[in-house]
């Protein structure tokens, strides 16, 4: 599948699905068809949504396939609009690996390292970059051994099952805690990317903010704070674009 095809699929996903939901009627799209909710529900998830020609700087092709596939399951495209893949979250995560965060630059990373009670938090020597490298390798190795395929090549339901197993600590690896990788890195970063400002590469078209009614960086509610009603305006991002 070429990236141009990806691009077209993305445009289709980002324009048609939210419009149908927002306008409340498929007639508004100029097409006859079922009522909006049904249209949204029956809209097929784009097969290969685009990442805008983005080339990962940190992830290898195999890792990139994992990250994209995992994003598509953690926040799927569905009746409620675009998911993490369409919103560019893989790009967010890849770009974050190139920031000081990727190397845990602001964490205390001197030894000795000991496991402690959960209340004492992260006690591993692994940086976020290393978590992804080892975590993805371990999950893909488990999938290859158990299901004869890489994670990205599994059916969606199988992928969900693998992610659930990682989440509750049912997949073990020698060199990384997959429970920690899943909860404290993969899922955490996916949420950051989906809801963080679009300038970081995720939350494309402010999809995350539109989903929940968050106004982004409008930052002025003096006239609204004492009114218990729906806020009247859409989101604005840090570049001043309106969503």
């Amino acid at each position: 599948m070429s990236r141009d095809t990806d691009r077209r699929a993305f445009l289709k996903a980002s324009v048609l699905i939210p419009s149908a939901a927002a306008l409340g009627s498929s007639a508004a799209l100029g097409q006859p068809g079922p009522p909006a909710d049904d249209a949204a529900r029956s809209a097929p998830a784009p097969a290969f949504p685009a990442d805008d020609h983005y080339q990962p700087a940190f992830f290898t092709p195999a890792e990139w396939a994992f990250v994209r596939a995992a994003c598509a399951r953690l926040i799927p495209t569905d009746a409620n609009g675009p998911g993490a893949l369409e919103a560019g979250v893989p790009q967010f995560i890849d770009r974050q690996m190139g920031t000081p965060y990727g190397d845990a630059a602001n964490w205390y990373m001197s030894g000795p390292f000991h496991e402690g009670a959960a209340e004492f938090g992260y006690q591993s020597a692994l940086t976020p970059k290393q978590q992804y490298r080892l975590g993805i390798r371990a999950i893909d190795a488990w999938c290859a051994k158990t299901l004869n395929k890489a994670f990205a090549d599994l059916m969606a339901a199988q992928q969900d099952d693998v992610l659930k197993k990682a989440e509750v600590g049912q997949i073990h690896a020698d060199d990384v805690s997959l429970k920690t990788f899943f909860t404290s890195f993969l899922l955490k970063n996916v949420m950051e990317g989906f809801f963080g400002d679009p300038m970081y590469g995720g939350n494309r078209d402010m999809a995350g903010w539109k989903l929940i009614g968050h106004p982004g960086s409008r930052g002025d509610f003096a006239e609204f704070v004492d009114r218990p009603q729906r806020y009247a305006y859409g989101p604005v991002d840090l570049y001043g674009r309106r969503g």
């Binding site: 205390y108 209340e119 938090g121 963080g196 218990p228």
Partner: protein, 591 residues
């Protein structure tokens, strides 16, 4: 060989709230004042200009304004028999860095300690008898009275442009204010902020339950304001980016918005950034501070001589500098002797998310750090502890501090954490969720203390401060008492469901999840050098030309937020240094 700077009259370690207060008050006396700040310089423009700072990834997820833990951190354990582990990532508490310190990213809740808390041991003994204090609890009187501090509480509120409504003006109770507060000499400088939905619903429920809600005092300006230093604040617009963020609007009181414009104009004041103080230097007999040694931006050690040394860094750095400079006797939990590290306390927070139906708009993205309705019916000794059998109390509130989705979207119990079910849940709940909390005092105990870690070191080769702390039976029984109040309030508020973290017996201090930066104690103030590190004027008992500021001088935990008391104590110390110490340097209290 360390380079040696020209001597100054006063060197101040740390340039946050207390450093700025002390700097301007002492500079007004005409002496030379130098502040040393380990972090960078920063100001509203350009650092917190709109829209740049309204960035949840940079500020909340990546802790843009907080201490870089790779340089220095602390180690943590629950009990002195345990191995302490490093605080590797920001979690339970959030030390700041840079000019303004934690005064930049705080929320703005601006309360006072109660009169009873400042003399808790005497008060409890009088009302309930000495036997009421459980074995191992080390409550004590602070040595300073509420009446002595009142002009300084007032001063700090006037500087901050605090928004609120008095509940007790010179002994006369005022409608709609906090009826339990100590007497105030005058009204707050600004009226209360507008109430967001969470606060309106909380206050209504609290009234129905017979409690006495009032507008939580907030150093988020409700109107344009010019403070006594001539610094201007603009009205808060409830942008929802307070805690973790610098203020876009000159509305949240910070050293930058309320003190530094006036201070920087004074010719006898100067400050240096990227100056990380390693130790306080003392004379051969250990009884006089001769200045400090710091590491500069290029990594060189520099000696700064001074006649007067003020420790004004954040809590944990002040305590560590006392320990690493070997000033005062370190606390020994085995014998109960020694004072540096003694009575280390925190606070407890039980937090309940309240979920409402789709017609009830809370709009949690709007708000201000300090805005809210609160009750102090169960703070301090405002209620009869006799039948309850615990000491301490707390504040309950329905605040709306402003929350965005990167900071975490609370969901009802049982909601999925990812997938389409999660997506539906965040869509359904984000605009309809509020939060109520109980913030409770943590008493001082023989086994909760600070010392130097034997294993872990910081980027400068110095041992890390080691925290030994856990919740004790007294505090957890108090929390269980509050949990019932929280549940009753959530039900009365009409929440369709509620869930959260409510501390109960068997729970331990969880250092992962943020609760507050209200750690305190460790260099207690007091009347007895055997149980306190500094006297009532915050002067070191051992080194009279050293004064120690910050919440580390609290004798034990309090129910309210600490900043109002920390600022008042800094003004109190400054006033007494000017009126007494500068005229006659030496011990201000004879031990």
């Amino acid at each position: 060989m360390a380079a040696r700077n020209r001597p100054v009259d006063v060197v101040i370690v740390g340039f946050g709230w207390t450093g700025a207060i002390m700097a301007i008050e002492l500079a007004k006396a005409g002496i030379s004042v130098l502040a040393l700040e380990r972090g960078a310089d920063q100001d509203t423009v350009p650092d917190w200009a709109y829209p740049k700072v309204l960035d949840e990834v940079a500020q909340s997820a990546r802790n843009g304004l907080l201490q870089n833990l790779s340089k220095t951190t602390v180690t943590l354990r629950h009990d002195k028999a345990d191995l302490a582990l490093p605080y590797r990532q920001i979690g339970s508490f959030k030390p700041g860095t840079g000019v303004g310190g934690a005064g930049i990213h705080w929320s703005g809740v601006h309360s006072r300690a109660t009169p009873e808390e400042l003399r808790l041991k005497s008060h409890v003994t009088q009302r309930y008898g000495a036997k009421f204090i459980p074995e191992g609890m080390q409550v004590q009187d602070w040595g300073v009275s509420y009446d002595e501090l009142e002009p300084h509480f007032d001063r700090f509120e006037q500087v901050c442009g605090t928004s609120g409504k008095a509940g007790n003006l010179q002994g006369v109770k005022q409608a709609e204010g906090n009826p339990f507060e100590g007497p105030r000499s005058r009204e707050y400088p600004l009226p209360p902020l507008k109430d967001p939905p969470t606060s309106v619903i909380f206050a209504k429920a609290a009234r129905e339950l017979g409690f006495h809600p009032f507008s939580l005092p907030a150093s988020n300006a409700s109107r344009p304001y010019r403070n006594p230093y001539g610094c201007d604040l603009g009205p808060c617009n409830f942008c929802g980016f307070c805690s973790d963020y610098g203020c876009i609007n000159y509305s949240k009181a910070s050293p930058q918005t309320t003190i530094l414009p006036a201070l920087k104009a004074m010719p006898n004041f100067s400050y240096r950034t990227h100056a990380h103080v390693l130790r306080i230097n003392t004379s051969a007999d250990g009884k006089t501070a001769t200045g400090v040694t710091y590491v500069d931006a290029q990594g060189r050690e520099v000696e700064q001589p001074a006649s007067l040394v003020i420790l004004a860094a954040f809590h944990l750095h002040n305590v560590r500098l006392m320990l690493s400079s070997k000033i005062g006797k370190p606390y020994d939990p085995e014998t109960g002797e020694g004072v540096i590290g003694r009575n280390f306390c925190y606070q407890l927070i039980s937090s309940v998310n309240t979920f409402f139906d789709s017609q009830t708009y809370i709009n949690q993205f709007m708000g201000a750090g300090g805005v809210g309705q609160a009750i102090e019916d169960f703070n301090a000794d405002n209620f009869d502890h006799g039948p309850l059998g615990f000491i301490g109390g707390g504040v309950m509130w329905g605040r709306q501090t402003g929350n965005g989705p990167v900071r975490g979207i609370p969901l009802p119990e049982g909601a999925p954490k990812w997938g389409s079910g999660w997506k539906q849940a965040v869509k359904d709940n984000y605009l309809h969720t509020g939060r109520i909390e109980a913030q409770m005092s943590n008493m001082a105990y023989r086994g909760a203390f600070l010392d130097l870690d034997p294993t872990y070191r910081d980027a400068y080769g110095e041992p890390l401060l080691r925290m030994t702390l856990d919740w004790q039976d007294n505090d957890l029984r108090m929390s269980e008492f509050f949990n019932e109040k929280l549940k009753a309030t959530a039900r009365t508020m009409g929440a369709t469901s509620f869930s959260g973290r409510m501390l109960k017996r068997g729970d331990h201090w969880d250092t992962r999840a943020y609760q507050s930066t209200h750690i305190n104690g460790g260099t207690s103030m007091g009347t007895d050098p055997r149980t306190s590190a500094v006297n009532k004027y915050l002067q070191s008992w051992d080194v009279p030309n050293l004064f120690v500021l910050g919440a580390n001088v609290f004798a034990h935990g309090i129910g309210a937020n600490p900043t109002g008391t920390v600022g008042a104590l800094a003004y109190w110390a400054a006033a007494n240094i000017r009126s007494t110490y500068l005229r006659d340097p030496g011990p201000m209290v004879r031990a």
